[in-house]
């Protein structure tokens, strides 16, 4: 995968601690129609194909899988330490009695987060990406083989903590949800606009710390809206649960 940051070693990718076998890098789909009229030297071949087509095909497959099981899936993306796992723990605690929740945890190393999710009472699979900085559709496809999905359930994919690379990769999810925590600065939307642009929902977390910070929630929301006018924003605190009921209400309307 991300060779630039020293990875691509597919052998490094682990699902629940087990190495993922080398991934098939050949394309199965047929493009013979593209090359019909080209025989001469120095000839042009029209391709007109998305660069991430292979990923997107697997994402479509994941999407069909979710639809067949009536699973609503979210891809959570944020910087490391914004509170994704804590938010999930609270969500499982608050909604877990009436809603089946499963989690795919993405981290470079350790299964600490999957263990926390299981402790909180939900099914979880840990994907260790090795040096890679994002989850891709194939990793999710493999993880889904390990995760028994209940009908009418919620699946949260907690991406690797990174606000750049995960935004480009469709995992087959219904929507991307981004999280900015108040300790990060209210201009985060301006610094990472691509994430905001691809997100349907933004959670502004750790609002319990606002009295101690210079974070301006209004500014943060306005910048986010200017980047993506359709984004739905919930200021929340995973610690005190302030604002979470509004988020849950929205979630249940969209399941």
């Amino acid at each position: 995968m991300c060779q630039e940051c020293g990875c691509l070693e597919v052998d490094q990718i682990k699902i629940d601690g087990k190495l993922l076998s080398a991934r098939n890098h050949t394309h199965q789909h047929d493009h013979s129609h593209h090359a019909e009229n080209n025989v001469d030297t120095g000839r042009e071949i029209s391709i007109k194909q998305n660069i991430l087509q292979k990923n997107n095909q697997i994402a479509s497959h994941n999407r069909e899988h979710f639809a067949a099981h009536h699973v609503f899936s979210m891809n959570w993306i944020s910087a490391p330490g914004s509170g994704k796992t804590t938010l999930l723990e609270k969500m499982i605690e608050d909604l877990g009695n009436n809603l089946s929740i499963a989690v795919i945890e993405g981290d470079q190393q350790t299964d600490n987060d999957a263990a926390r999710i299981r402790q909180a009472g939900a099914e979880a699979v840990q994907v260790n990406t090795g040096a890679a900085c994002h989850l891709d559709a194939e990793m999710i496809h493999q993880a889904l083989h390990k995760l028994p999905l209940q009908k009418n359930s919620l699946l949260v994919i907690e991406n690797v903590g990174n606000m750049v690379c995960p935004t480009a990769y469709d995992l087959g999810e219904h929507l991307k949800l981004s999280i900015i925590s108040c300790t990060e600065g209210d201009d985060k939307p301006l610094k990472y606009p691509d994430l905001l642009l691809t997100s349907k929902v933004l959670l502004i977390n750790k609002i319990d710390l606002l009295p101690y910070l210079d974070f301006n929630v209004e500014n943060c929301m306005q910048w986010a809206k200017k980047i993506n006018p359709e984004i739905i924003i919930f200021p929340v605190s995973a610690k005190t649960k302030e604002g979470l009921s509004e988020f849950y209400q929205w979630l249940q309307q969209n399941l």
Partner: protein, 113 residues
């Protein structure tokens, strides 16, 4: 950050298309990259010569069309280049719809025998 892996996907596809066409060499790769695709064009160019080394695209030309980040205003119907990164109409100030700038496409390749 992930431009080299993006480039590897590009080369993977180009090589397959070239082989399918019975070509021995890829002499040019033509891409369309949106301003807001999350991919840095300069980084793509930077990794290109390294990534193509010892492949059938070694020495190939890389042409990149940068597709502008454009919005369309639902109120005044103005189509504009959102150069500041905001989907806010530069004429009437209303929120606009995204209409372009997230492309990540291989348009074509040129091959030789």
């Amino acid at each position: 950050m992930h431009e080299l892996s993006i480039m590897m996907s590009i080369l993977d596809t180009c090589q397959q298309e070239a082989e399918k066409a019975g070509a021995g060499r890829v002499s040019k790769i033509h891409l369309q990259i949106g301003e807001r695709s999350g991919v840095v064009v300069d980084s793509l160019k930077f990794v290109f010569s390294m990534a193509t080394q010892d492949t059938m695209a070694e020495g190939a030309e890389l042409e990149i069309d940068l597709i502008p980040f454009e919005g369309e205003c639902p109120h005044c119907n103005r189509r504009f280049h959102a150069s500041a990164g905001f989907l806010v109409c530069d004429q009437c100030g209303n929120y606009a719809k995204l209409i372009g700038g997230q492309e990540l496409n291989i348009k074509s390749i040129e091959v030789e025998d």
